[in-house]
Symmetry: D2
Subunit: 397 residues, 4 copies
């Protein structure tokens, strides 16, 4: 019986919008103040798995911005009418204050031109070797302090620019990779190495390429640790993963699938920088390219519209051809609170990663494909096929 | 090898918009004038099945409106900018003229107040027994005249009002049913009996309750004939069959799902009559009720907007609740040419029914669930689950 | 200089959603806690008029539901995420508590089948003569108690069912009208009479037919009092009043203009009753009929969708014909908080009505046409033309 | 009585999509084959003006692409389901063939990198002085050949890149301008000079900066000729010119107004080039900047989506703040056939320019402001105010 056990959740980007929804939301659910919606692990057949309860989770993490605290972050979200109300934030004030003791400085390595817009110092003096060691020590100390059975590390930080050199690196081991590319390695990759070295399961909810890199994959296998990612599938891409297969199944030929994403949160602000945007867009457009076996016109646009805050508004236009070439159209507008969509999926992945860790499962968690825009491994591209993997896994309970 | 064989396709409602798209479209594809889009049976893994080619189909049918001919019907569609262009209609003029010889008068039984709006005589003097016999003879004569191997009967006629008494009938045999409810039995039911008595496979692409009635089901079983229906899933409901399961899988609680369908073709005109609309709406709203295991607000509206002609425009508003009760929204607008969406599915079903008939499969064709709003039998409600049934069937090739 | 003067605002339906936004919003603006948006009278050229400041208004009114108080009503709106936040409501708690002393029981006359749904007693025993006298006394007592210079009466109550007999009445004087139709006269009409008898200017922000009735018009003229109405133009109809004239000016022929209004507040609940809905819809569709000098298909639908609360979501489809008969389309979706749209217009009308009262202007306030769906008098139907009337009036400052 | 007179219409870009709609549409209307929709000059009060009839117009023009003819251009539009049907094109074949005799080669000066995509030779050898003289001669010869009373020149060519040096030029006379900037002057400016030198009234329906240039304005005044432009207001911007003023009049503060324009015709293809796009976007966003006297977020995007052809699909998201800062939203989707929207406005402008020419009116035709995105002169920014100018002008009849 695992319910006596306690699992640490170490978040990279611990005071971002998603993380703050996770922290405040978990506390609110524990107190019975809010409905427990959006958790896939609450649904059959996953309920038969011996997953940790939300009561068994202990939170900590790294955060870049020094002037932020969990309570302040939550209040700011409430004031901007995000997924947290002021009443709820007030009710979980003790938990939000308490978690501050488990936060440690983030990593400034690999920050692009947007460092300034985050209000942090230039990363010029960040030493990748020292930073990795420091983060590893932070996690181990967290684990020891709380006497945790296991720790799941979760990357929820902002999208970083990616250097092509890094992706094309021939280095297969972590140390040679570090030696070859040290100053170019973005923080999320250093963090991933640190987390694996500290024995954590690793969830990459962001577009960070960490899990695509051979040295990181090698580290996970060497340590026998489960990993999953990348880029949480929360809104528009979720829709694409059911609508794309629908058009394909019906032999309705998509001529153009134009996607426009408008958002105004820090994620949007960071994406206003071209380099960061490129990392993000790759995942978003790959999905449809994998659904259809023919070329079509399909641009994915992301625009920063400050007034929308965390309320992502996505408009898609799908122009398609049916019988005899008749041209028809589907449009949709998705208005979702990005962090409120992401937070329960993060909790789902933490629960599943904890189980995998406990079971000693190593490498890519293929059964989590449904949660990601660009899942690891050879997995189906449609949501239904991905959910079938999860159901199959549940049978192993 | 079946390719030498010839299959009859006998259409009830042979000059309606869907039927006309089927007739003109098949001819155009045979001549290589139009892309063969929208046929599900053209897609893997169904391509391994020994299905009849479009070249092997011979068309005929019943039609209510005496003043119509196939060429005129097709030209009218082209002039209203439906799914047929004038160039295409001109190119298949010979085929459209030829099929006229295989048309027979429709059946006026059970016509409601909308008989007048169809421009047909009042149904007062239609004798159900004689009408059934006459239709059976029409089909047998068609089969003999062309030396056909098999005939698939397809109901494509307008939605009829349904009497509750009929649906609640205790009669299990056709003759006793006919005796008990004769004058109340709508034409589509008489036609279904006639088709089965004539040894046809039966495809009910409309909301007609024919296949829900015990006497019709009994006839199919007694004759050892395959049947499938009801109500082709062409547009809005197709979307619901992927979007509903998506919300459910993500544990996003739907609060309201409001559906507005605007259309201006004869189907829309007929649906402007309350009785007919009720028959149609039942199927449309049942689907979501079966997806979600909790109550939600969900009205389905159909409105007749003449200027839209065959271009169904459907707007849906989905209001849902995520993490901590955060309320979010999805809207979509579907702009589809109803008949151009339906026609290839009709051809798919004809091909599949022909194969079932040849193989001697009897009763509900469960593998066709993906084609219908309200499929026969205990089948999954989501499109992916329904497509899996079809894929499973394809393995029997 | 009028700034020393004090004007009473007597609201019929004083604890409804609009009224609560007016009460809490005015208090918040006075305290400098909220931006002063949405007031037309804050814009040039109206700023030259000697209008009362928000500081000079004193509120009171009639309310039907006995179990409600202003603070509770405001908190309920905040909890449903309407146009008031909990922080704002907390900040103006003293004002909301204070206004309770100036509330008096509403009038139950003419309540239809929806009385029960409002949680009030059946109206069976309401005597129209006594009720009118009682309401008049309530207003006069309010005026005396606060030593007010003038009182503007505002109808913000729910839409009532209208009897055709009433609209077709031959009675021209109030007493004969009361004698002939007493028990059929809805509360809003009795209130209107009471307010005029008490010397108030009268603003009818609802679809109530009060100002269309000869006896009420006669009362206003006899008393020399300004009146305006009916039915505040807050959202979809506002859009129609600019988009309709745009299509007309461009000689683009509207074929169909379909309107779908979804809302979930008490207004929506009341409109779920057919009789009440009919009153409302009349005003909504008349506007476009007056813009175009040719027939078109144009249904206006109102549906009650509880989860939307006060957030009116309106979808319109406009199908139109341009050069050579080419058919094109415009769709819009309006997502507005009805009460937050209405409240500033109510304050505008109170300010304008107060000025008219002070100036001794009598009868229909033609310059307020821009504020109403169905304005009094012979006025332009387009917003621009109506705004020109207001600008013209401003020159009289 | 002017009806005996004949007016030449000389089009720059004579085989583009708009021009082809003008040519074929005018012929179809003359033959009574198509409804005369979309002409503003057909509406009161303009009907009192002594405007030329469509029967009195004679067409000719310059065209860049050598491999095109009017009939072929029209057939291509019909085949792509633009605003012309094949039936209509067939019916006016004689007129389309006849006009070919009045076409002359276009001008390759100032063509940017997109010259290749138009299938024309590089512009390297185009001499601006010679080209201007040649075009002037073409027009004069056209006038003489047909014995025309007057000629109206209309620029309907694709958007060109604009050099900042040109716009900032200090040259005030045409000759010094030509001397200073010769090789940088785009074709539309050379054409404008040629047309004015030939005594034509000049309508600039494109974003070309010709009429913003002092030397061109000086030419018009020196010759005493009427001019109007720029950039026809056909769709999205038309909506903005009524919706923007609506929000402003209501004191609803626009936070963000995001515009997405998708189109697939040659115009869209040309706009895919950054330089050309910049010229276009300037006009589109200026309008709203002039409506609101405060800053807001408002990006205008144009994307080339080939499958849409001439069917411009524009989605706008308007996020605004009302009473107490409550945030609300309007979205619209405009689906218009760009050329079918533009063509009748071109005919309107030709008619109005011909009248101005006949009357000897010189300089900017301020009364045509309603037709343009960026009208000349100090004119109102709202459509209603612009239509009032036109109505005022009509009184001079």
């Amino acid at each position: 019986m695992q319910s006596e056990q306690r699992t640490g959740v170490w978040i990279f980007g611990a005071l971002g919008s998603i993380a703050t929804h996770v922290l405040a939301g978990t506390a609110a659910i524990r107190r019975g103040l809010a409905p427990r919606r959006g958790l896939v692990t609450d649904m059959a057949p996953l309920t038969t798995l011996d997953l940790p309860g939300l009561d068994n989770l202990v939170f900590g993490g790294h955060e870049l911005r020094p002037d932020t605290d969990p309570l302040g972050a939550a209040r700011e979200i409430a004031s901007r009418r995000g997924g947290l109300t002021r009443e709820l934030v007030d009710a979980v004030e003790p938990e939000l204050i308490a978690v501050a003791a488990d936060l440690r400085p983030g990593c400034r390595a690999g920050l692009g031109a947007w460092a300034a817009s985050l209000g942090v110092d230039s990363p010029g003096d960040a030493d990748p070797v020292a930073e990795t060691a420091r983060m590893r020590a932070d996690i181990l100390e967290f684990r020891a302090r709380h006497g945790l059975d296991r720790v799941v590390a979760v990357n929820l930080a902002s999208t970083e620019p990616v250097s092509a050199a890094l992706l094309g690196s021939q280095a297969t081991g972590w140390d040679s990779f570090l030696a070859a590319h040290g100053p170019d390695i973005p923080a999320s990759v250093l963090f991933s190495a640190a987390a694996l070295q500290a024995g954590c399961a690793l969830v990459n909810f962001t577009p960070s390429p960490a899990l695509d890199l051979a040295p990181i994959r090698a580290l996970a296998l060497a340590q026998g640790l489960p990993i999953c990612g990348k880029d949480g599938k929360t809104g528009e891409t979720l829709l694409k993963s059911v609508l794309g297969p629908m058009f394909f199944a019906r032999n309705l030929r998509v001529l153009s699938w134009e996607s426009f994403n408008l958002l105004g949160n820090r994620d949007g602000q960071v994406l206003a920088h071209e380099g960061n945007k490129k990392s993000k867009l790759a995942g978003k457009s790959d999905l449809l390219r994998n659904v259809f076996d023919y070329p079509f016109h399909g641009e994915v646009h992301i625009d920063y519209v400050p007034s929308l805050d965390d309320w992502k508004t996505a408009w898609n236009l799908i122009h398609f051809e049916g019988f005899l070439g008749t041209r028809m159209m589907l449009q949709f507008t998705w208005q979702g609170c990005d962090s409120a969509l992401a937070a329960p999926l993060v909790l789902d992945l933490v629960r599943l990663a904890d189980l995998a860790l406990r079971r000693g499962e190593s490498g890519p968690m293929l059964h989590t494909a449904a949660f990601f825009k660009a899942p690891l491994g050879q997995v189906p591209v449609d949501l239904a096929g991905q959910m079938a993997l999860l159901a199959e896994y549940a049978k192993t309970a």
